[in-house]
Amino acid sequence: MPMNRRALLRSTAAAIVPAIGGFPLIGRAANRPYTYGGSAWLGHYSAYIAIKTGIFSKKGLEIKWQSFPTSSDRMGAVMAGSIDLAGTGVVSSLALMAAGASQFKVIATPNNFGRAEGLLVRSNVSNIAQLKGKKIGVTFASSTHVLVLDLLKQAGMNPDSDVSLINLPAPNLLSAYQGNQIDAAAAWTPSFDRIKALPNTRVLADDTSFSLYKEYSITPGPDVLLATTKLAKEDPAAIKTFLQGIFEANAMLTNAPEEAAKVLIEITGLTLEEQVNTIKQTGWYSAEQQRSLLVAPGSFVTGMQKLAEMLVSLKQIDKAPVVRNWLDAGYL
């Protein structure tokens, strides 16, 4: 009886396929844990919340968290294939795009921040020209580095001769500033909050003073979420689920910041009050907003392209890549 045979074939196939699925050649490893590379920076809040509050696991997706202190370390792991998903500041991803890397795709931008990083100075400094001849501590190749270079350019100052830019990793900025070894520090949260809380210190400028922010609402190092091209080929469904989880987490950040804060202070070490403030002063995008940002009219993409051109003019990268080529909004 054909019906029975068909049913028999179907059930046989149903039995065989999972068995073959375990075969590496076919490589459809369903639900193996994927790794997300992040840090204590707010760009990763969405992923962290989604992991820790079980949003991903409820959807049947197992995501492991791995911490990387710098964007370049994280991007290195992406290039090497040791992590599947990551959040990163745009400078590292633009540098890799400029170098022609093909190992990743930009899939979303999770947030919009304007006040979580900036240039901190002693109370008696009221404009950037007063920093002439002084030492400014900043983490090179980061968004704050771009911010400082842009602020100096706006003030007509030469970053090589008018000030002394000292490369310091984020954890060292606080001690260097406290120890009076630097006169100003360019930092992002949570170091930013730590330094801001010191006596005799004020914020001279934050991302809202960035030249491209005024025009394109883009910060010097906006956050993007990436997936490896390998993952995109092997398990595109997982990426879709991942993004769903991200936007759920964003909803939580927007609607229930205190609850979210309680989870986040584990990783940031901020006080509950500081944490809630940081969450509140950041805009957490929803899935709908992504479409207008990334696809049509795609203001985020334009902004990123402008940022790439600025990095070229600031001599940070050799040439501006066509950002659109790395974008894949198909998972939204």
């Binding site: 370049s72 540098a95 170098a99 890397a101 030492k135 501590g137 490369n167 060292n172 260097a176 120890g179």
Partner: protein, 258 residues
Amino acid sequence: MAEVVKPRKSAGSLAWLSVLSLLGFLAAWELICRSGAVDPIFLPPPSQVWARASTMFGQGTLLGHVLASTRRVMVGFLAAAAVAIPLGIWLGTSRIARAIFDPVISFLRPLPSMSWIPLSLLWFGINETQKYSIVFMGSFVPALLYVMEATRSIDPLLIRAARNLGAQRWQVMREVLLPGCLPQIISGMKIILGLSWTCVISAELVAAKEGLGFMIMNGKEFFQTDTVVLGMVLISFTVLATDLVVRALERWLLAWQR
């Protein structure tokens, strides 16, 4: 007592082989990259590295990096040698001094130069002295141990002879041990110089804005692998150049050995 000596191939005749081998290596490297088998982000071809070198040289930054690192190495290394040589000779000859200093030396020895970075930033601030201190801390104890070992290479009969001729304790150290152990000390110092270079690279990863270590780190941050490779090549060349200078110095100091 005439010997029949077979004529030996002169040493110069094999240099061409080394040059050929180097060119072959570079050609292979270039071809592998050009074939597309390797992503240039992971390994840039020599032509790209050369292009980067020309650009940076044209901008005037390349020489600055080389000189900054060389200066830091030299100051740190010479400071370490200047302290380690007399101290090492003294410790090599005095059991009491050794007993006193051993605990401190044993504690300091395993510490990598990088671990001194946080303290050095606190003590010296962000300046060149802090860089010199990293090179010093990474080189000093190994240099000291080399010198102490070198003092054992001297023929004890020479010390006896010197004392027999009226040399006092300190005179023995200065007039016999120092010149007598000099060949061993110099060969040890050549190794320490290489060590000093690794210290400088780690020192430049934090709180620097020029130098070959900084250049490599900065290149890595921006995924300019050609800059990274260029930095490595320059370190190699500079170390070799320093080595030649040290060898010439060694020949002059140890003229009596010829």
